[in-house]
């Protein structure tokens, strides 16, 4: 029995949230059940993800391959739990659990009554399941389907709030994201045309033999993927939808959108780039340099735009644009330290940005204010919220012993190892800009006199979620051990270094 | 291999698609544009048939009609003119 469960573990991790999400709708009347079911599924997911990651680490990266329906690879669809998959699965599970905990009993003022909140949870679980699927899938067309489902559930989450702004943001996002999916599908089509395979491993092998006959097609496919996923992951010039969408969404939705959804698309892009085209083709087509360049642009532009924002959530949203730049830059470095660093940075940013958004949401709903200058004295009245916010800010800036530093350290190692001093400089400037746009919030919160209003920390589940995430920010910085190891393993696998 | 008569038929239909899409770009009356869209999906379905994928043709026809009707209903309930 246990053996059966063990073999079906990967598909269970993906399918469980999806399955449960469809169960939720009829249960809307018993909203308490809905909530406990959601948290329970997420908790189970975290346990399984830890178990899978442990298995991968113990076997030092031997992948667990699961063929759907028992059909072997070129014909059937595979779930490939490699080091990268296990890594991202762990990140997804680790971040979705606190976010769903935060959402418990807290949606009524942002989303509405039990029915609407249940719908929110349906979409939320759908997104969580799809992200897990993105971590494990090894099939190009599956990626398209997952990306589409993710897009629609993201749009649903963005539009979950009443009011025109949410609908407008969701529509803009939908249009641009569908444009992106179109490009992705086009890219998949081009790869399929020249390789005849949709399984990424087989497509990669086939492409290796034939790419010299179709250099233009390969080039086109690469740029389709880059632009398509770039739109969805809000890579700098294509980020226009992100600030509106992430700042108008309800708090838990902003957290998962900024913290995880964006990274899901990046992981898909990386899987395709490194899994299908593989390192030497990326080298031939100079994609590494393009990625580094795009990353640097995103860091600078995102940070400067974030500086210009007065609204707290918009500032955080633009900060995501900048952080996506770090991640893309790291993948462009194409050495083991850079890629491992960027994977770790991805994980730490997932934790940090969800923390920031959750804390910001708590601040906004407690004070009813949105501008960064309005939070004078909050630090004393809401010590937990603001404390966690400060920890996360320090982490994002990259103060040593916070999780952001480990990622930045390896990013710097990677970029200087390839002799790219400019990239290192931009990473440094990015941290300084990050401090400039985050520290004033902390300063007003702690060092300015508070008004007389009665502001309070949010309820118990919300506090628990915030504290969990805050501990994770510090914990990853002090003891990154296993996660860093997994990231290094994943980097070695991506770069095909034994 | 040269082009057969069937190819010329497909070409003509593709040309119709292009004309239809251009028309949708330019027509100001949304209801008219959506009607053109209905025609577009119909031609698309015929092309799928021509390309030996009848399953797709059936789906496209059904989905196209469905979408056209949905759009018509929504346009009827909102605003008809493009500004």
């Amino acid at each position: 029995m246990t053996a059966v469960i063990k073999t079906h573990l990967p598909v269970f991790v993906v399918a469980a949230p999806l399955f449960v999400s469809f169960l939720l709708s009829p249960m809307a009347r018993r909203f308490g059940w809905v909530q406990s079911l959601v948290v329970g599924v997420q908790g189970l997911g975290l346990l399984l993800a830890v178990y899978l990651a442990g298995m991968i680490l113990k076997s030092s990266g031997v992948p667990i391959i699961y063929s759907m329906g028992g059909w072997p690879a070129p014909w059937g669809i595979e779930l490939w739990t490699g080091s990268l998959g296990a890594f991202f699965l762990l990140v997804v599970a680790g971040v979705t659990l606190p976010i769903s905990l935060y959402a418990v009993n807290n949606l009524s003022d942002e989303v509405g009554d039990a029915t609407r909140s249940t719908r929110f949870f349906v979409l939320y679980l759908l997104l969580a399941g799809v992200l897990a699927g993105m971590a494990l899938t090894n099939d190009l067309f599956n990626i398209f389907v997952l990306v589409e489902v993710a897009t629609i559930s993201c749009c649903g989450l963005v539009s979950a709030r009443r009011g025109p702004n949410a609908a407008k943001a969701a529509f803009n996002y939908l249009i641009l994201a569908t444009l992106g999916s179109g490009l992705i599908l086009g890219g998949i089509g081009l790869v399929y045309m020249i390789t005849g395979n949709l399984n990424m491993g087989f497509a990669g092998i086939a492409l290796n033999g034939v790419w010299q006959d179709y250099p233009h097609v390969v080039w086109m496919a690469m740029s389709f993927f880059l632009v398509g996923f770039g739109v969805k992951a809000a890579l700098f010039p294509l980020h226009v939808w992100l600030p509106d969408a992430h700042s108008t969404a309800p708090t838990p939705a902003s957290a998962i959108l900024s913290g995880l959804a964006v990274k899901g698309y990046i992981i898909c892009l990386v899987k395709i780039l490194f899994g299908v085209f593989e390192v030497h083709l990326l080298d031939v087509f100079r994609l590494d340099q393009i990625l580094v360049l795009l990353g640097m642009l995103a860091i600078l532009a995102g940070s400067i735009l974030a500086l210009a924002q007065g609204e707290l959530k918009r500032r955080l949203a633009f900060s995501t644009v900048a952080q996506v730049g770090y991640i893309v830059l790291g993948f462009g470095l194409m050495n083991i330290k850079g890629v491992a660093g960027t994977l770790f940075y991805l994980a730490s940013h997932a934790v940090i940005k969800s923390t920031l958004f959750l804390a910001a949401g708590a601040l906004i709903s407690a004070t009813g204010k949105t501008h960064v200058k309005d939070f004078a004295g909050v630090g004393r009245k809401m010590p937990i919220t603001m404390g966690v916010f400060s920890i996360a800010s320090l982490g994002l800036v990259g103060i040593p012993l916070f999780s952001g530093f480990v990622g930045k350290w390896y990013l710097l190692l990677g970029s200087l190892e390839v002799g790219n001093l400019t990239a290192a400089g931009v990473i440094g400037i990015g941290s300084v800009l990050c401090a400039i746009y985050l520290f004033p919030i902390i300063r007003t919160a702690y060092f300015e006199p508070a008004p007389e209003d009665d502001w309070q920390d949010p309820g118990v589940p919300q506090r628990l979620a915030l504290v969990m995430l805050g501990i994770a920010v510090i914990g990853l910085g002090v003891l990154p051990g296993p996660l860093l190891q997994l990231a290094q393993k994943a980097a070695a696998d991506l770069l095909i270094i034994p | 291999m040269g082009l057969t008569l069937a190819d010329y038929g497909t070409m003509a239909m593709l040309f119709m698609l292009i004309v239809a899409s251009l028309a949708m770009y330019f027509i100001r009356d949304l209801m008219h544009a959506v009607i053109v869209y209905g025609a577009y999906t119909l031609v698309m379905a015929l092309i799928w048939l021509q390309m030996n994928t009848p399953d797709l043709a059936i789906t496209e026809a059904a989905a196209g009609i469905g979408m056209t009707v949905m759009m018509m209903v929504v346009i009827y309930r909102t605003s008809r003119k493009e500004e």
Binding site: V406, A435, I436, R443, V478, L479 | -
Partner: protein, 480 residues
């Protein structure tokens, strides 16, 4: 081991205690602050004595996948000793100064955290630990800079944080480069880059010196320092004349002697230009200082100039130069803190901050102005005071390195220093007795005591330079 831990953590522990005390207990709070500053001082003295006698104390920790080590050598021990000793004086002075100021709890908490951060910088045994404590020092001193909460203070704080973090970013990049090129980052086993001959070393040196130069107020990276003078006076005295700026200076000394090593430095083209950057800062800083009318701003520019004395000594790469630099670190800090303390008393008691309106202040605040006069003479480099010796060794260092003109720069700077301060002292004893609340009563003794004490120490070291010589010798022997 124990000494190191006690010295390092006394500040943070004290800060936690202060933060958890109820707001009204001012006396108890002072007792706690004093207790923990003294603990910090005592244990850093013990560390220093052990190190100067050739002992070895080290802690290594594996955190965040990286190695952090605390392993003071004579240079670090010397810095820790200077800083922690002055901390006690500043603490006592603060008790007087903060009497009528608001938010003492925040002030003392961050005051004590800064002590820990400074000692961490001093005792760090590898570049990563140095970087960590350097960042921590920036963050811990930021609330002190903006303590007044005025618009000016916030602006100054913003400037301070931007400058410092930019410098830190440059340092981080430089550390990573060092690590990639040499594979190690700890100071204990001789200069890190000693066998690394490659292009780009000049760039690395520029990154390091630029990064630490921000805190060391090397021109043109000095702009934050005059702005930061909006902080309370004990903070200006302690942090912006000694602890924070010395952490930058100390970083540069480390880079020159522990990262590059003097042999390698001798071969770099940039290293030959650095003494001139320092000389430029010395002269321009003090010239700008003479133009300032606000006393604290004058002192700030004067700090900028004096810090480069130390750097100049270090950049000569000669034993005499380094000895002079260390000696100047000791003697300058005592005198400068005295000057700042006097400025604080003048501002507090006579309500006067402008140099041009000092007439008669000397009659109403005689002890203060005498201390001020003594410190001014010291800044010029007059004989009975300790700076005479440090300047003497600095000049010898300059001559030893074959650059006579550096010695001339020091002489010239001494003359401008005289123009900068002595007329003020003379003017304060002219004319009518100025209006003031006098030197007696209330909190005055708490402020005047440390001031006179420090002036006395400066005089003592000037008369018997032998008492600090073992420490200086230990540092010089470490590197030569």
């Amino acid at each position: 081991m124990l000494e190191l831990g006690m010295a390092l953590f006394s500040g943070v522990t004290g800060a936690l205690v202060v933060a958890s005390l109820p707001k009204a207990t001012e006396r108890l709070r002072r007792a706690v602050v004093l207790l923990f500053s003294v603990t910090g001082m005592v244990f850093s003295w013990r560390v220093a004595i052990k190190i100067f006698n050739g002992g070895n104390i080290g802690i290594i920790a594996q955190l965040g996948g990286l190695t952090w080590s605390l392993d003071p050598d004579p240079l670090g021990a010397m810095f820790g000793l200077i800083a922690s000793t002055l901390w006690v004086f500043a603490a006592i002075y603060s008790f007087g100064y903060m009497e009528r100021k608001t938010r003492p709890q925040t002030y003392y908490a961050f005051f004590l955290i800064s002590l820990s951060a400074t000692l961490g910088v001093a005792f760090s045994g590898n570049l990563l630990a140095l970087y960590f404590f350097y960042e921590l020092l920036t963050l811990a001193t930021y609330p002190l800079v903006i303590h007044e909460r005025s618009a000016d203070a916030v602006k100054a704080g913003r400037k301070y944080i931007i400058y410092s973090l930019s410098g830190a970013a440059a340092i981080l990049i430089a550390i990573v480069l060092t690590y990639i090129w040499s594979g190690k980052i700890d100071f204990a086993s001789g200069p890190i880059l000693v066998n690394t001959m490659r292009p780009g070393l000049n760039l690395l040196l520029a990154l390091f010196v630029g990064g630490f130069g921000v805190k060391a107020a090397l021109m043109p990276l000095h702009r934050w320092l005059p702005a930061a003078m909006v902080a309370p006076t004990p903070i200006s005295a302690l942090l912006h004349a000694v602890a924070v700026v010395y952490s930058g200076v100390y970083g540069i000394l480390r880079v020159v002697y522990s990262v590059f090593g003097r042999e390698l430095m001798g071969t770099l083209s940039l290293a030959r230009k650095l003494p001139w950057v320092a000389a430029f800062t010395i002269l321009v800083g003090v010239i700008i200082a003479t133009q300032q009318d606000v006393l604290k701003r004058r002192l700030a520019y004067h700090t900028i100039s004096q810090l480069s004395y130390i750097l100049l000594g270090a950049f000569t790469l000669q034993p005499w130069g380094l000895g002079g630099a260390i000696l100047h670190m000791i003697s300058y800090s005592t005198l400068k803190v005295t000057l700042f303390f006097c400025a604080g008393i003048i501002a507090e008691r006579a309500d006067e901050t402008a140099v041009s309106r000092m007439q008669g202040v000397g009659w109403s605040l005689p002890k203060t102005m005498i201390a001020f006069g003594v410190a001014s003479l010291g800044m010029v480099g007059m004989l009975p005071l300790n700076t005479f010796w440090s300047k003497y060794y600095l000049m010898r260092g300059g001559v030893q390195s074959g650059q006579w003109s550096l010695a001339l720069v020091l002489i010239g700077s001494g003359i401008i220093n005289a123009i900068c301060f002595l007329p003020t002292v003379v003017a304060s004893f002219q004319g009518e007795k100025a209006k003031s609340s006098g030197e007696t009563g209330g909190n005055t003794m708490l402020m005047l005591g440390p001031t006179l004490c420090l002036a006395g120490i400066a005089l003592l070291i000037g008369l018997y330079p032998g008492i600090v010589w073992p420490g200086v010798e230990a540092v010089v022997n470490r590197f030569f």
